[in-house]
């Protein structure tokens, strides 16, 4: 648990960050809360000769709710998500999910940007952002560009963000209808055995729209378009939920680890999703 030597930078402007990234290329990494990267460095599984800390850059920790559009700065912490009243009203799924991430001490440091950017299949925010159809803003030498969360993840730890780009914010429309973030884990602080993010709207007693994303059941987060489609137009009854689960099971690809064998994970994925749908749907009715 002793990291290799590294140079530490704490630049004050994004321009300086980009310049450092261009100078050091693969040898540099940007750090937000550090709660994924630093353990990897201590285990000597991540070799980061140049570590660039974003803490001194202004304006990255804002939560903005403008009309129906929500923007989260990259340095917004998990703790901030739990304790923002505006956000809890506009997108309550965020606090419901954040409360299931790690423990309070980690949530004071862990950031949304780091969680989304890292590409760890165990992180909760990537699946959640796919559920919300978020847009991810990155800044690089050629300026800003937006990437859809549903396109962002290529494989474990591999994303569409280039090495000299920095994730600066995430934005999405405030979701309508009911929500649920359901997560099974072995203990506080653990990654999900299976987790499901669900947003559903109702239209005259039927499902108007449904967005479903699963976490830690593949090497990338899985937005299951088919699972959502299976619910639309139904009364969200058992048959519909079974169809959604079946569709979701066609999209995930879990692997065996200490959390259990594949058959168990697939079963739990189905249970987790059906519970999430049921809860989200009940909230739809409650809101209507």
């Amino acid at each position: 648990m002793i990291p290799a030597a590294f140079d530490y930078y704490r630049p004050k402007t994004m321009g300086d960050v980009i310049a450092l990234l261009q100078e050091h290329g693969d040898d540099a990494r940007v750090m937000a809360g550090g709660h994924s990267l630093i353990p990897m460095m201590k285990l000597r599984m991540a070799d980061v000769p140049h570590l660039i800390d974003l803490q001194a850059i202004d304006g990255l920790d804002a939560i903005t709710i403008d009309g129906g559009r929500i923007t989260l700065g990259a340095m917004v912490t998990q703790h901030d998500l739990i304790n923002n009243d505006g956000l809890s009203n506009a997108a309550p799924i965020l606090s419901e999910a954040a409360l299931q991430i790690a423990d309070p001490q980690v949530r004071y440091m862990g950031t949304v940007g780091g969680n989304v950017a890292n590409g760890d299949p165990g992180n909760d925010m990537p699946g959640l952002m796919q559920c919300l159809d978020a847009q991810i803003k990155v800044v690089g030498p050629d300026g800003e560009r937006m990437i859809a969360a549903r396109d962002y993840y290529e494989s474990a730890y591999m994303t569409l963000r280039a090495d000299d780009e920095v994730l600066v914010s995430i934005e999405f429309d405030a979701p309508a209808g009911g929500h649920a973030y359901e997560k099974q884990k072995r203990k506080i602080g653990d990654y999900a055995t299976a987790a499901a993010a669900v947003q559903i709207t109702s239209d005259a007693g039927k499902v108007g729209s449904a967005s479903i994303a699963m976490t830690n059941l593949s090497d990338v987060p899985v937005w299951s378009e088919a699972a959502g489609a299976a619910l639309v137009g139904t009364a969200c009854d058992d048959t519909a939920i079974k169809a959604a689960v079946a569709a979701m099971l066609g999209d995930i690809d879990p692997s065996e680890d200490n959390r259990g064998p594949v058959a168990f994970k697939r079963h739990v994925a189905g249970i987790t999703l059906s519970r999430a749908i049921t809860r989200a749907w009940s909230r739809t009715t409650a809101r209507a």
Binding site: A4, R186, G189, Y191, T193, N258, R259, A263
Partner: protein, 805 residues
Amino acid sequence: MNDMTPDREERSANLKGMGCSRKRVEDSRFTQGKGNYVDDIKLPGMLHGDFVRSPYAHARVVSINKEAALALPGVVAVLTADDLRPLNLHWMPTLAGDKQMVLADGKVLFQGQEVAFVVASDRYVAADAVELVEVEYEELPVITDPFESLKSDVVLREDLEGQTEGAHGPRKHHNHIFTWEQGDESGTNQVLDNADVVATESMYYHRTHPCPLETCGSVASMDKVNGKLTLWGTFQAPHVVRTVASLLSGIEEHNIRVVSPDIGGGFGNKVGVYPGYVCSIVASIVTGVPVKWVEDRMENLMSTAFARDYHMTGKISATKEGKITGLHCHVTADHGGFDACADPTKFPAGFMNICTGSYDIPVAYLAVDGVYTNKAPGGVSYRCSFRVTEAVYFIERMIEVLAIELGMDSAELRRINFIKKEQFPYTAALGWEYDSGDYHTAWDKALKAVDYDGLRKEQAERVEAFKRGETRTLMGIGLTFFTEIVGAGPVKNCDILGMGMFDSCEIRIHPTGSAIARLGTISQGQGHATTFAQILASEIGISADSITIEEGDTDTAPYGLGTYGSRSTPVAGAATAMAGRKIRAKAQMIAAYLLEVHDDDVEFDIDRFVVKGAPEKFKTMKEIAYAAYNQAIPGLEPGLEAVSYYDPPNMTYPFGAYVCVMDIDVDTGVPEIRRFYALDDCGTRINPMIIEGQIHGGLTEALAVALGQEIAYDDIGNVKTGTLMDFFLPTAWEVPNYETDFTVTPSPHHPIGAKGVGESPHVGGVPCFSNAVQDAFRPFGNRHTNMPHDHWRIWQTANRLGLHD
């Protein structure tokens, strides 16, 4: 003598003696971050050591190239077995009569084994240098299963080749260590053959690890000018470490000072001697400056002492009415690459022969086969007396299986087989003499407290509702009645490396009436500084607040065998009481002299001696202490000191009755602990608050072991659970609100009747949590499933029983 004299009740309360929930005096420093642990020790010029460890579970070490590491600025030395060989320290003896490589001597036998020791000017340079040591390995076939090991042609311990006799008798195979037999084999078989009912079950008690929050470490400082070695370390038995260090190094024992500073939890992990200790000593001798070695979490989990790893097969017989007639137990014990079990010398499987439990079983037989595999050595008693958790798990599972076989309620089955109060002292079929007990009273109290009959009714209704499809949650009721065996000695039975397992206390009363007492034990969180002062306060009439307790420094403390196996209170606590009584005896003579009466005419009264029949005539202990140093008393030496070395006449036998109520989601495998009731009888209760804390801690470690904590290996000997991400250490979130209760059955042979309590909740807790899981599935045909009961294994049980169809 004057009206201001407080009444007896007030005087008694002022003592803060036995029975008082005195706040822990240790906690002001611990809660303020002012503890002094091994890693807090920083000495001028101190160097830092780190290990090159084997990535392979079984391999030949072809070559070790130190050049690149030695070239790194700041690196002082890289030690290998070849460097230790001239000192004959490349191997070291284990507590179990085997020997263990300090650094890989030609081959490695488990993943994480120590191969080379890097010494550098700072901790970071040492870690960098570890990566620069080039080791060439030639992989060998890996054996992680003890049954396969006993059939394999692969010789794990080439150094023992041809040795058919081990430390504990004949070896049957080149990977076999010992067979340990207890009891009457033919008598037991005869009873089993002719019994009305026989229940047979095999169970695996998985490998786990004590995982104290503070890992192991040491700082060695060899002073070459005066020839003295000082060794600070995470030692549960500092005096034994001094003796062993002297025998190994040839340094005379008076020139070695061993200090156990504050210790952040031991749970058995810090009983043994590890290569890191030896290497830090050698490195300090070689370099002439202090050398620190502190392992990290992964090293701790991977290479220091594991616990359990017992494959147990049992047969238990009974009459049709449920009276148990015989018990047969066979254990295949996986000891890893070296036999480094921490047990008294004559007990290679610890006190596994307490496996007849709390029951009056006329005949029994136990055989344990120890086996080498490519796993880390160890076999320590993780929060229990020697192998008692295994024994109690075994019998409490066998009772449940027998109840199923008999179609009988297991609470009733226990009740009709308990050793009766009037049978104590009771000699069990496997030899132990239980000193005292009142099991029926404790059991009835426990079942009543939880409304046992009501719980069974609710469970039956739940099963019906489940079958009707109205719920997907099952309810389990876990029962356990356990008897611990703690407080080793006696010296005639129990020794460690030849050192008899007595313990000690030395007391000095200061002239102004305060005191210091030093003991041969060492607290690792048990609160000795608090509780031993309470014993003394009651014995000598000086307030606990005026008594300092000191342990762990071999230059000042009397020799003792240390703290593990719940032996501190039974042994050192007894020594404390006995030394206190010597103080009191002298104080009586001083008081009589001062009061101008005969010795027999004064009697002890809380904090003073009073003239019999004239309580207004008295001398307080404070006055007596002053007189001891300031008056010439005819026939008495000045001063007021005493020392006691206590060899207990027997072990003590704490017991308890536990009930766990659990709800299990069959679809996710998630258990919810609704209720946990723990009744403990530890004899005389010294500090009820500390007892409650001990019970909470032991139950939490029991929950961990039962519900997920394991050291798991893959087929090629890789440790799969090497970090706290995968090794389950419960937090407040996973832990229920425990309900604690007690009965008091004092030990008849202990000076204050105390029995020890720190490990009881672990011993009783593991089978209780496990029985709750198993009981939930019992109505659907479950007899036994192995721990750990983590989500996927519980789910698998439900799946196997067809509950997902």
